[in-house]
């Protein structure tokens, strides 16, 4: 999934991208040595568990009061709030948690402090056929739009068809084109008409047909793209201005890039919804705010600031202040891994690649870029982040993903006969944090016996430069966030050999090794979904041990702050966003 960072990744075709050096938020995996901060919560299983039996209505917390408005201040702005196009963490969280219901949803589980996949508009998590090529979801009764009309299965089917209209509605998730029947041919209702064989409705049932087994359809059905959109009221150009609400809140006023006001949707029935509550009267989102200003407002906690929150990571300058007031700081995990993808076509010797892993100045670079180690950036060595099903904890280099070992790097370079190997990487000259990280990285690499050549770019062009096969660089700093917590949303998306050479450089390491391509095919085609879960963890370890195509430069974490009367705010560790669906104002 794409991150909510400013300017986020518009140009990149892949599922998500990370800013070169920024990004992030904090997590903790039990085994990393990061968690000496007591605010740090263990764990995060990023919705690896499902809870099909969760009953509606959702319980209302004891300390919740009715009424009031929660204000959300943020430095970023969602690029679109059209359900079909929502693919950034902020837009999916706002839509899914408050406005548009989907077939399934994530709900917070207080006991485990993580998210669980639960039914939403559907009565269960979907019924797959034996080989996962056909999924059937059954809609609940009593679902209504904000205007009082009934939600029908045809509307959901239309929304699914609409998600194929990538030309009219770009930047949304695109798994449907890979997995759904005729996904490669159907161009959506605006070009291809509404005749699409992949979706069938029968009464309250919606059946989705696949062209290859898709065992993660229940996760995928939680995206806002799987909401209900009445065909008669759809206009692809303006629907995102006021999507028809099925959830507890509806759009009252939306100024793109500036503000969004939500008010109660009186047509929403809590008895049909196991995940959401409707305690506050409304929500006020203020986008593109000044970071220092919004942090000051929330930290000072006066008047209306008590019911104000932000989903931006707290900056290093303010973290010390707020860390004394732990009640108002929410930390947690985000299923994102930052990596230095080593170009396999340019750095062919594994010893050099491993030397790079030893020489990389992990802590120096993180701190220079303003990341708080253990909170907004958590050391790690597996490509799969904590909270992914089947994840294996391993440490190929034996440095815990944090203890730079320059001597070992020099030794390996000497063995490889590549002393003074030139490493070329991108940085943005107009981004202070990027420049500071670059300085730290240059020092670290040179201490490790490399020659470091930073290649200048700008924040505007760094994404296109990074995904350009002709860029004069041999490592690429980027990352990946999972769309759902299984290895299936990781390796086939970034580490498959058939992605090499494609537009947008979806395989940033140019990783194309026969053995690993064969292994991926085996996992996808031959193993059952349950076996595949663990197989991806093994795959992760095997790839890092035998090829070391990427230096894992930590996992993302979140550290968000809120006013003293904001209740129910926890970290949605699937997205790294607040759990809007269960938030309220305390007494």
């Amino acid at each position: 999934m794409r991150m909510k960072r400013p300017a986020a990744a518009l140009a990149v075709a892949a599922l998500m991208t990370l800013a070169a050096c920024g990004g992030g938020s904090g997590d903790t995996s039990g085994d990393t040595n990061a968690g000496d901060d007591p605010t740090f919560k263990e764990g995060g299983n990023a919705g690896a568990f499902k809870d099909e039996a969760r009953e509606a209505p959702a319980p209302i917390p004891d300390d919740a009061t009715e009424g009031g408005t929660l204000t959300v201040l943020t430095a970023v702005a969602p690029s679109t709030l059209d359900p079909t196009q929502a693919y950034y963490t902020d837009s999916t969280a706002i839509l899914s948690d408050l406005v548009t219901r989907s077939l399934t949803q994530y709900a917070y589980n207080e006991e485990t402090d993580d998210m669980q996949l639960i039914p939403d508009m559907a009565t269960d998590l979907g019924q797959p056929n034996e080989d996962n090529t056909e999924w059937t979801f059954t809609l609940r009764d009593g679902l209504k739009y904000e205007d009082g009309t009934d939600v029908t299965a045809e509307d959901v089917a239309y929304a699914i068809k609409r998600s194929f209209a990538i030309e009219e509605l770009p930047d949304g998730p695109t798994y449907q084109t890979t997995f759904f029947l005729d996904g490669d041919k159907y161009k959506g209702p605006f070009q291809g008409g509404t005749d699409y064989a992949g979706v069938e409705t029968n009464g309250n049932d919606i059946t989705i047909k696949m062209r290859r087994p898709f065992s993660d359809m229940d996760y995928y059905a939680s995206f806002p793209a799987f909401t209900a959109i009445p065909e008669a009221k759809d206009n692809p150009e303006t629907y995102g201005q006021k999507p028809l609400a099925t959830g507890p809140y509806k759009f009252a006023d939306y100024k793109a890039g500036a503000s969004l006001t939500l008010v109660k949707n009186d047509q929403w029935d809590p008895n049909t919804d196991p995940g959401r509550i409707q305690m506050v009267d409304g929500w006020e989102f203020m986008f593109a705010q000044d970071t220092a200003k919004l942090e000051n407002i929330i930290i000072n906690d006066n008047g209306s600031a008590q019911t104000t929150l932000t989903y931006d990571n707290v900056s290093a300058s303010s973290y010390r202040q707020i860390s004394e007031d732990k009640e108002r700081l929410v930390t947690g995990t985000q299923p994102c891994t930052f990596m230095w993808y080593i170009d396999m076509t340019k750095i062919k010797d594994i010893k050099v690649r491993q030397a790079l892993g030893y020489a990389y100045p992990y802590e120096d670079a993180w701190k220079a870029a303003g990341d708080i180690v253990g909170v907004t950036r958590v050391p790690g060595t597996s490509i799969l982040p904590p909270g992914t099903a089947g994840r294996k904890e391993f440490d190929v280099l034996g440095i815990g993903g944090v203890n730079t070992d320059a001597a070992k790097a020099k030794e390996l370079l000497k063995e490889a006969g590549a002393e003074g190997f030139e490493i070329k990487f991108l940085f943005a000259t107009d981004d202070d944090q990027s420049v500071a990280a670059k300085d730290a990285i240059v020092q670290g690499l040179e201490a490790g016996g490399f020659k470091a050549t930073p290649i200048a770019s700008t924040t505007e062009t760094i994404r296109t430069d990074r995904t350009d096969y002709n860029s004069p660089i041999n490592v690429r700093s980027s990352g990946w966030c999972s769309d759902w917590p299984s290895g299936g949303s990781w390796f086939p998306a970034q580490w498959a050999g058939n992605l090499v050479g494609l537009e947008g450089m979806p395989n940033p390491a140019n990783f194309k090794v026969k053995k690993f391509d064969a292994e991926q095919d085996r996992i996808l085609d031959e193993l059952s979904p349950e076996e595949a879960v663990d197989a991806w963890g093994e795959f992760d370890e095997m790839m890092q041990t035998e090829e070391y195509p990427a230096v894992v430069t930590g996992y993302g974490g979140v550290a968000m702050i809120h006013g003293s009367k904001v209740g129910g705010m926890a970290n949605d560790n699937v997205r790294g966003m607040p759990t809007f669906a269960r938030m309220y104002i305390t007494e």
């Binding site: 000496d36 901060d37 970071t291 220092a292 000051n296 900056s315 290093a316 300058s317 303010s318 973290y319 010390r320 202040q321 860390s323 100045p361 802590e363 120096d364 993180w366 701190k367 220079a368 870029a369 303003g370 708080i372 180690v373 253990g374 070329k424 000259t429 107009d430 981004d431 202070d432 420049v435 500071a436 300085d439 730290a440 020092q443 050549t453 930073p454 290649i455 200048a456 770019s457 700008t458 505007e460 062009t461 430069d465 004069p472």
Partner: protein
């Protein structure tokens, strides 16, 4: 504003008592101005401050050695879990290891950064001032002395430059350079710095050129110029030997007021992220330090005080110089 020797002496004659007439007759306008400056206490204090800054700039490497500090030497061990420095003021008391403390996040030494920031600031200001002055004087002289199409076209040229938006040009050049020299780090650093100097110089000469042109327009009709032409003195000699010495005053005034403007411009551009990346700069430090105004103010104050002191000293000095050269002020 021009100083015409004949007028000047007439004035002096009429106001000064006869006894000193002999003494004054031997003094050039510059000498008079210097004598006046010497009696201006504020000017002298400012001069000392400016000289101090110049010494800091010139001897920045020596000074950092002397204090035992180093540029960009920070590591992760220099900062705590909140990325704040673990030694130095204001949180941990004064220490000679880091007299101005360390920068949060990177742990780099603030004093070293400050010394080298002064160096960048003054280097940029001095070079740009000299270049802009040379350009302005030359163009102004030529425009003023030539008649007809050359004068007209130079004037048009000046108008064009005056109408170009300085900030937008500066902002536009930065990404162009990055895309042109992005993969040659050394060339990029050189050209970023050079482009900063070029931009500042190119946008700093117009007013002086107009001033000089105006002066030359009136001077060239004077008897001493006419006489020189009659006896066949070459144009270049007239320009540089007859006219230029009479323009010393406006030029010096323009230099002394240009310097602080360029110091401020350099800091401003660096704050916007334009200019030399990789070089220490007050403007860039201020940019980084702004979010810390609350939690670590020293980080912000050091470069701000640097810019403030230098610009104020240069400005006051410039005012004093202008007053000293202006025959109409009497203090």
């Amino acid at each position: 504003m021009g100083i015409q020797p004949t007028e000047l002496s007439e004035q002096d004659i009429s106001t000064e008592p006869e006894v000193v007439k002999q003494e004054i007759a031997g003094r050039s306008p510059t000498q008079i101005a210097i004598a006046r400056l010497k009696h201006d206490k504020i000017a002298m204090i400012c001069l000392v401050v400016v000289i101090l800054f110049f010494l800091i700039a010139v001897f920045a490497p020596l000074l950092t050695n002397l204090f035992g500090v180093e540029l960009k030497a920070g590591t992760a061990d220099d900062t705590d879990q909140f990325n704040f420095p673990i030694i130095g003021p204001p949180d941990h008391g004064f220490t000679w290891e880091a007299p101005l403390g360390l920068a949060p996040n990177s742990g780099d030494d603030n004093l070293a950064e400050w010394f080298y920031g002064a160096r960048t600031s003054l280097l940029v200001a001095t070079v740009s001032t000299v270049a802009a002055t040379l350009l302005g004087v030359t163009i102004g002289l030529i425009a003023g002395f030539s008649r007809g199409w050359l004068d007209k076209s130079i004037n048009f040229f000046i108008d064009v430059f005056l109408s170009l938006p300085f900030l937008i040009v500066a902002l536009a050049i930065a990404p162009i350079l990055v895309s042109r020299f992005g993969n040659q780090p050394d060339a990029l650093e050189f050209w970023q710095f050079a482009s900063l100097l070029i931009v500042l110089s190119l946008f700093g000469w117009m007013l002086l050129a107009r001033l000089v042109r105006g002066e030359v327009l009136s001077l060239r009709e004077r008897e001493f110029v006419q006489a020189a032409r009659v006896i066949g003195v070459p144009t270049r000699r007239i320009l540089f030997k007859e006219l230029l010495p009479n323009l010393i005053a406006p030029i010096i005034v323009s230099i002394s007021l240009g310097l602080p403007a360029f110091v401020a411009a350099e800091a401003g551009l660096a704050y916007l992220g334009i200019g030399a990346t990789g070089k220490a700069s007050w403007g860039q430090t201020i940019d980084r330090a702004v979010p810390y105004f609350n939690t670590y103010p020293l980080y912000l104050y050091a470069p701000v005080v640097g810019v403030f002191l230098l610009v104020m000293a240069l400005n006051l000095l410039g005012d004093a110089v202008r007053d000293a050269f202006d025959p109409k002020t009497r203090r």
